[in-house]
Every structure is written in structure tokens, then in C-alpha cells.
Symmetry: C2
Amino acid sequence: MIFTTTTEYAIRGLAELAGRSSDSKSIMLDDLVAGTTLPRDFLAKVFQRLVKAGLLKSAKGRGGGFMLARPAHEITIKDIVESIDGPIHLDRCAVGLDKCNDHQPCPQHDLYQPIRQRLKDYLATTTVADLASSLKTKQAWQKIIENNAAEKEKQHANGKH
Amino acid sequence: MIFTTTTEYAIRGLAELAGRSSDSKSIMLDDLVAGTTLPRDFLAKVFQRLVKAGLLKSAKGRGGGFMLARPAHEITIKDIVESIDGPIHLDRCAVGLDKCNDHQPCPQHDLYQPIRQRLKDYLATTTVADLASSLKTKQAWQKIIENNAAEKEKQHANGKH
DNA sequence: CTATAATCGGATAAAAATGTCCTCTAAAGA
DNA sequence: TCTTTAGAGGACATTTTTATCCGATTATAG
């Protein structure tokens, strides 16, 4: 994977949040992680960082929880990654030959450049809203698959009779 | 960066090796890291792994050292990465929505697929020979830059006279 | 005001990655 | 054979990442 575990949690957490809570309504951590494999306590730390970075708003006490600081379609993966890891460092030479940059490129740098650029574009244009809808699509499939499995099980039981 | 520090050392180490030693002649670690920022002892460990993976051959004792197990143009970055990290895991969903794969893609998966493919192609087609020549190009530049700096310094001194 | 409910934030632990050192082993040359 | 020289490999140290826990803080409801 191209992200760290922490960054991945941030991305998944925001995607869940956008998918589960309606706009301008906050959701509690316990509700957000329910049914996911997201680690509650660790995600809490990650969300604290996202609050400080201005991607999330939080509220303590009863009725508290987290909500997006701006619309889901205005938060990109790039925003998330940079909130966690700091400025994206994709500009370094892909193969670790330092002192390579756009001013002083090496052949590898030029070859890798188009890939880097596409990655950057992807990160800069894909938003939390996109991710949330991807999540929903995935969840829908999951159900279909489970149903199919149940159906097969049923047929199998009948056949045995 | 998209590689771990360890993998990056492996890549840089092999590039240096291919650049410094003529074919079918081994080079010692101490010579290989001279003038680089590669950490000698840690690289030794990394090279041990590459020997076991079949990318390098090693020889103990006098006249010993390391050499490529096959021609530089037949060792790809992919080979190196897989020797260190195991099979490349780029196939996972880019945004960590698990249960996504080519059979069961989600929208993000499809969007990210072309980027992933290009990355894979790059890793599978770029060889140690390419990296070595990139290194040499870079080193040539480095010299030019240093010369320019020295020249300027000289002019500056003259001007002051 | 009090009890409850939520995040915040510090402390700490566990695990993984990275880095260092030292002895063992194998090979070559005197 | 003996000495020197190289990597091999084990032990250990350090740092970073990931994970967990708990009291403090803040807000709400009654």
C-alpha cells in the first residue's frame, strides 16, 4: 500500500463518517466504528489530529461526536494525507537517488514523473464523498454475496433431503 | 516515498554496485559505500537478504565481496522490492476498503487501476542497469555544479581585489 | 447542582523498523 | 600452517509506529 496504517485509518474513518451521518449532524466514535474493523481508541487519536488540521469538528459531552468541517466533496485524499503525514513527499526521486528534483532531474526522475503526476491528480481530485459512495457500493455487494451464500446453503440442504 | 527505508537502501546499494564494479567482478562493502550516505552495517544486513533471494552472490575472505547474480539489465526494481518486502501488495484497494480486488472491484478500485498498472509496469521494466546509468548522470551533474560554485567563488575573490 | 455522556490529552505499552556491534566462519596469501 | 581479510549471523540498542488505558475536561439533561 502507498499509505501508512495511520493514514489509512484516517481515510477509512472519514469515509465511514461521511457515509453514516447526514450532513451537519455529528456522529459518535462508538457508532462510527461499529461493524467495522477500525480500532476505536487509535482512531480517536487520529481524529484528534484531523480536528487540529481543520478537517473535522468535534463536540464533547452529550450529543457530542465528530462531523466534517466542510462538505464531503470538498475534502480530498490529499488533504487527509497531508493532515497526517505533512506535505506529500512524492516529489522525491522514486528510487531514492537524492538531490534529484524537477530542477535537477535524473533519467529515472523523468520516467517516473508521469506516474507521480497521475497519482497526485488522483489524490487531489478524489474526495471523501467519492469514498463514501464507494463504501456503500461495496457494502451492497457484500450483502448480495452473503445472500448468495445463504441461498446456496439452502439449496444444498434441500438437495440432501 | 513509496518504498520503505530498507527497500530504498537495497535499490541504492544495487545501483551503486552495478555502477562501480565491472561485470563479473566483486566489490567490497566498504568500497561500495565510500562516498555515499549508505549505512555500511545496515546495508550488510540488507545485502544478506538479497543474497538469499538470489539477486546477489557473495564471497567471504580475501578478494571477497558482492556481485550481481545476473546481468544488471535482468534485475528489475520489482525483483528488489519483492526480495525485501515479499510479493508486492499494490493490488490492495488504494484507499484501504478491504474486500476489494479485481473480481470484486469498487469504484475507487477502477479509478485507481490505471495508476496501479503504470506503477507496476515501471517497477517491472526498470532495471538495475537503468538505475546505475541514472546514478552516473547524476554524479556528472554534481561535478558540474561543484565546478560552477568553485568558479563563482574565484570570480568573487577576484572582484574583491 | 448533579449525574451522565462524550472527546481530550497524557502516560504507557507493545510491536516493528532501523541501526550498531561483536564474534564466528570461510577464503586467500605469505 | 598461520595470519589477514572478507561476509555471516547473532545479540542488542534505538527509534518510530501502532495500540491501549485512564483521568481530566466539557457539555447536556434532569
